[in-house]
Amino acid sequence: MNQAPHEPTLQEVGDALAAATNRDLHRGRHRPVRRIALALAGLAVIGAGTAAAAGLFGPKQVAAGMPAGTAIFGQTDPTCVLNPDDSSYRCTLSKPPANEVTDANGNPAYLGTKEVLAIDGVVAGGCIGLDAAGMTWDCYVGQAAVDHEIIGPDFLGEPVLGPGHG
């Protein structure tokens, strides 16, 4: 599409609209809980690599944060343990996630899928699927989730009303 160089493209309008609608979606909701906000700020200062080791979030919080952040993890009863790298958590589900992400044949296709992690009502990080069935995930908290391109930097710390879909 021909556009004058100084005018926004439809892509740029779409990006601006996406940011605006995301703000609107969260407008009027509770502001981020102070404790989690401080913790996330702490992660930024401490650095992603030592986030988990810093003990700001325990495996149980991360496990609870999966269904809190993403609807597909409802009723999956995740269990998380700290990975040897001290910066991420390996989480295993007791039951498969909701069948929302599939391949052309309708089979689960969760390998590499990225989902939101929510702790105390705010976006605290994200998880990446490690297998097609979606039974095993690596979850990252704070800046580490941004560095792994699971969530955007503007999304970190945003309040969540309920588990997200998609």
């Binding site: 004058a4 439809l10 309008v13 601006a16 997200g164 879909h165």
Partner: protein, 188 residues
Amino acid sequence: MAATSRLDATRDADLLRESKQSSAAFRVLYDRHAERIHGFLLRRTREPGAAVELTAETFAQAWLSRDRYTDHDEGTIAPWLFGIARHVLAASVRRQALERSARDRLQLELDTGATTIDPSWLDGLDDDLTAALAELPDGQRRAIELRVVADQAYVDVARRLDITPEAARVRVHRGLSAIRRRLTQTSQ
């Protein structure tokens, strides 16, 4: 986080419903329809900057009114979006300023140059629709008049046209697609 592959395969009305909780779902709708809405507005205004701003306003209004969308099961929200675009265009001409109430509510800022509103933007606007409707085969035109204009249920449309509800649905879908193509043809 958006599972893009799933959203891409989701029908419009379901995406709009999902967008009550997900801006990612609405972004997929934008990506599907923005170019055609923009094409329509560019053809009316012949002002690239104005067309972009009015496209943004159209989708901002769609976002703010998504709770009020009625799913007629046509498989696409394009007719609804074009209705908003027409309203945005008409409101801009009436006020002699680009309509931006929804953008203001969403604090959606765009950096475009000043635009002079021209009443000719509305010239032949209804003629387009009338002509597009007139070009349809009788069966499709009647189906659209009953379903979209008179807001009758498919089962009632079917009864009036003495066809099955499935056939009525197909006629409406094909008719709306033809109208959409007609209305979004860009003048070169």
